[in-house]
């Protein structure tokens, strides 16, 4: 699905990613954990194509294509989806209009016709149920005035609508109440198939109780310093990052 090799990225002259290696196959769930500021969101932004970062070294192959050569929109059209840690508000653009445009541009990219209005609305109905998103929210402006939890739910609703191959969920659990966490996690699990893959970025085991990862990686100072199975997350939850920090302290 995606293969990241020795990825280095910086902003200005500050290097944030210092050689990331990660291989995710179809059907897998990977969790990325790590202390604040270690570069988790930067990794997802770089993969999604945010232009603020310079990729200085390394390569990323996504379904056989050189991901770094693609524009942000083409990455999405190829099936990459990023659920933002901080979804932004876009006043004046309705969720529905936004999603219809997105869906149809993705379809056009794959040589498919526009989706009929009726089918689109049926899809909206079906997918909003999946994350129990209030139908009213779908017709409002993108994230405008949404509560923190509603914004996160809306991200997963969009994911359900666009049906990506690889979804990167950047702290989708933060800000969700206990019920919402379960609803969102159940939604993500329902969207899971042998043909797609998920990377969940999180600080907490409780999300991983629902979305059970095949692999867990610890990101620290721009590198994956430790990888393991789902038990690694439990270990980190119990012990914290002190050991890791000591072991991998790098002089800046």
């Amino acid at each position: 699905m995606i293969s990241i090799k020795n990825l280095h990225a910086s902003i200005g002259d500050k290097e944030i990613l210092r050689g990331i290696n990660l291989e995710v196959k179809a059907g897998e769930i990977h969790a990325i954990m790590g202390p604040n500021g270690s570069g988790k969101s930067t990794l997802s932004s770089v993969l999604a194509g945010r232009e603020d970062y310079d990729v200085t070294e390394g390569e990323v192959t996504f379904n056989g294509k050189n991901l770094l050569d693609l524009s942000t929109e083409d990455r999405a059209r190829e099936g990459l989806f990023l659920a933002f840690q901080y979804p932004i508000e876009i006043p004046g653009v309705s969720n529905i209009n936004f999603l219809r445009t997105a869906l149809n541009e993705i379809r056009a990219y794959h040589g498919q016709e526009e989706m009929a209005a009726k089918d689109f609305l049926a899809l909206v109905k079906e997918k909003s149920k999946l994350v129990e998103l209030d139908a009213k929210l779908a017709s409002r402006s993108v994230n405008e005035g949404f509560s923190g939890g509603e914004k996160k739910r809306n991200e997963i609703f969009q994911m359900a609508m666009l049906n990506p191959k690889l979804a990167i969920l950047d702290e989708t659990d933060s800000g969700l109440d206990i019920d919402a966490l379960r609803i969102v996690a159940t939604g993500v699990n329902k969207l899971k198939s042998k043909d797609n893959a998920t990377i969940v970025i999180t600080h907490y085991q409780r999300l991983l109780d629902y979305i059970v990862p095949d692999f867990v990686h610890i990101l620290y100072k721009g590198r994956i310093v430790k990888s393991g199975g789902k038990e690694l997350a439990l270990e980190m939850e119990a012990k914290g990052y002190d050991e890791i920090k000591k072991e991998f302290e790098i002089a800046d």
Partner: protein
Amino acid sequence: MSLVADNKSAVTQTLLDQLQSKSSKVAFMPDAEIISAIRYLEDKGIPNNKHEDYKYCNIEAVLRKEFKSVEQAFNELTNSDIAPLKIDEAINLVVVNGVYSEELSEKMIVKGLTVKSLNELSSTEKALLCSQAKSDTDALIALNTTFSANGLFLQIDKNNIIPMPLHVIYVNSGSANIVTNTRSFINVQANAQATLIESFYNIGSAKVFSNFVGEKFVGENAKLTCHTFQNEGALSYSVNTNQVKINKYSNYSNTTMTLSGELVRNNHNVVLADSNCEAHLNGLFISSGTQQIDNHTLIDHQMPHCESNELYKGIAKDKSAGTFNGKIFVRKDAQKTNAYQSSKNILMSDDATINTKPQLEIYADDVKCSHGTSTGKIDTEALFYLKARGIGEESARKLLLQAFAQELIDKIEIPSLQERVLHLFEKAL
């Protein structure tokens, strides 16, 4: 006789000479106003960039450069020229090169509605002319008064509500460079209500300098809802001055949509002359190329318990430029005034500029006034969010700009006008 005796400005001199030799004498304007207009022009000349109010909008330079010789070769227009400009759900009235055309206008008998030419005014009606647009306040008003064509008078008699919108189509057309001085007077008497659309067009391949002055009166407890639609094209240079006076318990609103024009200068001046009235001024423009679109407003709160609201937005592309200059006076008797003003702008290129200048002068102590301006680039975070969902750069930009403009487009309550604006707006993006 030369109008300008002691050569204040060569441009003014030339223009006035040319107009004087090619225009018929204005009979319907009060003599005193014409005299004071000529004096004002002699004294001040046509404003250039040294004039505070015209700092970014050098009218003199435009005249010098584009209208060195004014042919006044006016084209006649026919119904087929006008048909595409009409609005179905409205009564369409037509003013060609400043002259009200009864022939091209739709004839409909509507209770309480009077439509006629300025030279047909009764003496009481005539006395109203220039009462709001004083010649000695602005050179463009003075120029208009001096050379005014036989424009339009529109009156809604007291206690009448006009059930459909009135659409005035102001269209200019010349076979060589022309200068038009279009004048209109709209009088909404007490307890009357009307919805008005004023559209500005330029047909043909000649350059036009259009100097429009509209006087509007809104009587006690009356309501006038205006829409100004400007789509004059690349050959047009226009100054549109609206002098509005509103009375006790009345409600006046105007939304100006500027979709094209090489130079567009809008002066919208509203006097809230009595208590408990409200004025709402809105505007949206999108400019490209080397266009310049200026909106100047003046809200004059003279009496207590009144409200004013202003919302202006602009999108400037390429090397285009815009200005929003909003003056608010709150006179000492105007206690309990609420006055709000906001100007938001988006620059689509590094070469585009928009200048904003709010000016509040408050002489009363118990008032609520606020103003805010912002000018910036399109929101890159929002752009990234849309692109990250598979939406291409082009359509992402369009979505955001449409969202930016939507609240103003929503203010147009006439469906086919809204459609027309939306269509042109999308095309201009």
